[in-house]
């Protein structure tokens, strides 16, 4: 999976890149904030150094040319005040600066500004050296004390930067995570769909589009195979139908033949019954495979299930249900007019399969009850018989064992019949749920719940 590793390394690299950029940014922020102060406070033209150099290069009587040049080139000015408060000498002195000072003047400017010029003083035995800096070049804090919140700002700055860094990192993490899930989510979900044997069509752009192409290819293969399988089953079932019509037709003719002897008639009746079983099987097989591969379009319409049940029941009775079976239909008044969206043919088929199940499991006869009622805003369709029922183990098998269409295990006894699978598929296609209840000698009962009831 070259594409994936490329994809992941790209994301990791960009993450590392971001961290590096943040570190550099932090250093820059620190340097920018503090370098200025450092260079101004401790550099060669800082007041500290200037005072030292000028003091060394001057006395109460004058200043060396070199020091004078240095003051002028840096746009500073300087003066030397003697004990009486008058200037012994000046360098580059602005016009507005006086040359005579009282003690009060000196006390005030030595801590702060002289006519808005930040000034710095150096005292020696004969007097006071004053160096003036351009206006607005330094801010002098004229008091010796600092408000505590100013001091507090320093740790706060570090804390703030750290928090911002963490936030940026977290944001980058979430964005990148969202981006990865956004790109991989459709891939993962389509692989899950594929694993159910269903076809998909995945469309994504960007680095992972190659994967989408491969997945779509796999899906096409699966869908082609599914279609081929369903067509194959449909073809076989089609080809069986015409010959089976003839077997059923002739067997029935022999049963009704007045000249045939009874033994032959009985045998023909067996052929007829078994042919009907094959007919049901062929139809089930075809329908199951089509529902399985989603090739059966549902023709849903809003119908009254009560009507469907009655119509099914009379068809069954009219087709000649043997006397030892009795069929009851109980439709509760509140469910009489309940309508659901369903495919009439398929639902009738599901009910028929359940009823045929009861008939086949009880060859000696039983009472079959079809009922319809409304429970908890759902429509409950029940097919039950009072026949021999099935054992607890068998019931578990029915509930849990896969059908042979879904099982790769070739031991037939581990798989159950087609009829129930079809019922399940039909009910699932209608978003209904199904429950089976049975106990030995207490009959067999299937509950089918449909939601989405409407009234006419």
């Amino acid at each position: 999976m070259k594409v994936f590793s490329r994809y992941i390394s790209k994301h990791l690299l960009s993450f590392i890149g971001l961290i590096l950029a943040l570190v550099i940014l932090n250093i820059a922020a620190f340097a920018f904030t503090f370098y200025n102060a450092v260079s101004k406070n401790f550099g060669s033209i800082s007041p500290q150094n200037m005072l030292k150099q000028v003091a060394a290069a001057s006395s109460s009587n004058g200043i060396t040319n070199e020091a004078e040049r240095m003051i002028i080139t840096n746009s500073l000015w300087a003066m030397y005040l003697n004990m009486e408060g008058s200037c012994n000498w000046t360098v580059n002195l602005p016009e507005e600066i006086p040359t005579e000072y009282s003690i009060q003047d000196i006390a005030i400017f030595s801590k702060g500004y002289l006519k808005d010029y930040p000034v710095f003083v150096w005292s020696d035995v004969n007097g006071l050296l004053v160096i003036g800096y351009p206006k607005n070049s330094y801010m002098k804090i004229t008091s010796n004390y600092y408000p505590i919140d100013t001091v507090r700002k320093i740790p706060l700055f570090f804390l703030g930067i750290t928090v911002i860094d963490l936030l940026v990192l977290f944001l980058a993490y979430s964005l990148s995570k969202a981006q990865i899930s956004k790109n991989t989510e459709p891939i993962i979900s389509s692989i899950a769909t594929l694993s159910e044997g269903k076809s998909i069509n995945l469309s994504i752009n960007g680095e992972l589009s190659e994967i989408a192409v491969s997945i779509n290819k796999a899906s096409n293969i699966i869908s082609r195979q599914n279609t081929a399988r369903a067509n194959w089953i449909s073809g076989v079932s089609h080809d069986i139908r015409t010959p089976l019509s003839m077997i059923m037709g002739y067997a029935d003719r022999i049963v009704k033949d007045k000249d045939a002897d009874n033994r032959i008639k009985e045998q023909a009746a067996i052929i007829s019954r078994q042919s009907i079983k094959i007919k049901d099987l062929v139809q089930d097989l075809n329908l199951v495979s089509k529902l399985e591969y989603e090739m059966q379009p549902l023709q849903k319409e809003n119908i009254r299930l009560s009507k469907l049940l009655r119509s099914f029941a009379i068809d069954l009775l009219n087709s000649g249900l043997p006397d030892f079976y009795s069929l009851e239909v109980n439709i509760s008044p509140d469910s009489e007019n309940s309508m659901i969206e369903c495919d009439t043919k398929l639902i009738t088929r599901a009910v028929n399969n359940l009823v045929q199940n009861s008939i086949h499991s009880n060859p000696k006869g039983c009472t079959i009850i079809l009922s319809l009622q409304v429970t908890e805003s759902k429509l409950l369709l029940t097919v039950q018989d009072n026949g021999i029922g099935i054992s607890v183990e068998k019931l578990e098998e029915l509930k849990n064992k896969p059908h042979y269409m879904e099982s790769t295990d070739d031991r037939l006894d581990l798989r159950h019949g087609l009829g129930l699978l079809l019922v399940r598929q039909i009910i699932e296609a209608h978003h209904g749920t199904i429950e089976i209840e049975s106990r030995p000698h207490e009959g067999y009962k299937t509950n089918i719940y449909f939601s989405g009831i409407s009234k006419p």
């Binding site: 139908r241 019509s245 009907i276 075809n286 023709q299 009655r310 009379i314 087709s319």
Partner: protein, 233 residues
């Protein structure tokens, strides 16, 4: 209802399988149909329909030189003969009902002979009026043309609703008809709530047709489902 007048109708069978044609012909002959024409292709089917002028056509969907649908469309250009399709595919059934081709019915293969006969009778009865519209019940005879019941030498008239009710049941004589179908025929709409009216009609009809209305033998109730009309054996 008496079926003999229907058995005189001419039927056209078209199927590419000669053995199936032979069998269906045999089943129909057993039943009393004497007038049967067969064809094995679209071409033969069209000429048979033109020359023989059948009263009912039973067409296979899959034919060697085309399909039953196009055969029907071609027949429709010169004839309004009712058509029943025989189909070996579930899809065809869907197509038939979905396309609204105007077929009268369809039968999916494999079919039981009685199912085939029932469908044929149903379509024929729907399309051709009975010349002698009588049904003989146990103890009386219903004359549908005059809407009268002849019982024990007396003539009892039927109301319009009773007539529809009995005619609907007589068309499926011996078979159960659901309350839904009956209400549809009587009132033409959603039948729920008409149960009491239906019961009232049934009571009155029984008084007219049954020898002992409290022990009905002709008009039978099938609890929760519908009613059945039994002809005299």
């Amino acid at each position: 209802m008496d079926n003999t007048f229907l058995q005189n109708k001419k039927l056209l069978l078209v199927d590419d399988e000669p053995e199936l044609l032979e069998m269906v012909t045999a089943i129909l002959s057993d039943e009393g149909f004497g007038n049967i024409v067969t064809a094995v292709s679209v071409k033969e089917g069209i000429s048979a329909a033109q020359n023989e002028k059948p009263d009912l056509a039973i067409l296979d969907v899959m034919l060697p030189d085309g399909d039953g649908f196009s055969l029907m469309q071609q027949i429709r250009t010169f004839s309004d003969v009712p058509v029943i399709f025989l189909t070996a595919k579930d899809e065809s059934v869907d197509r038939l009902s979905g396309l609204g081709l105007g077929a009268d019915d369809y039968i999916a293969k494999p079919f039981l002979p009685q199912e085939l006969l029932f469908r044929i009778y149903a379509v024929l009865r729907r399309c051709y009026k009975d010349d002698t519209p009588f049904i003989n019940l146990d103890g009386c005879t219903i004359d549908f043309a005059r809407a009268e019941v002849h019982k024990a030498g007396k003539t009892i008239p039927l109301t319009a609703k009773e007539h529809i009710f009995l005619e609907t049941l007589a068309r499926s004589e011996g078979r159960i008809v659901t309350v839904d179908t009956l209400c549809q025929a009587l009132w033409g709409d959603n039948p729920f709530g008409y149960e009491n009216s239906l019961n009232a009609h049934v009571r009155r009809i029984r008084e007219k047709i049954e020898t002992d209305p409290s022990k009905p033998v002709s008009l039978i109730t099938v609890k929760g489902l519908g009613y059945k009309l039994n002809a005299r054996k």
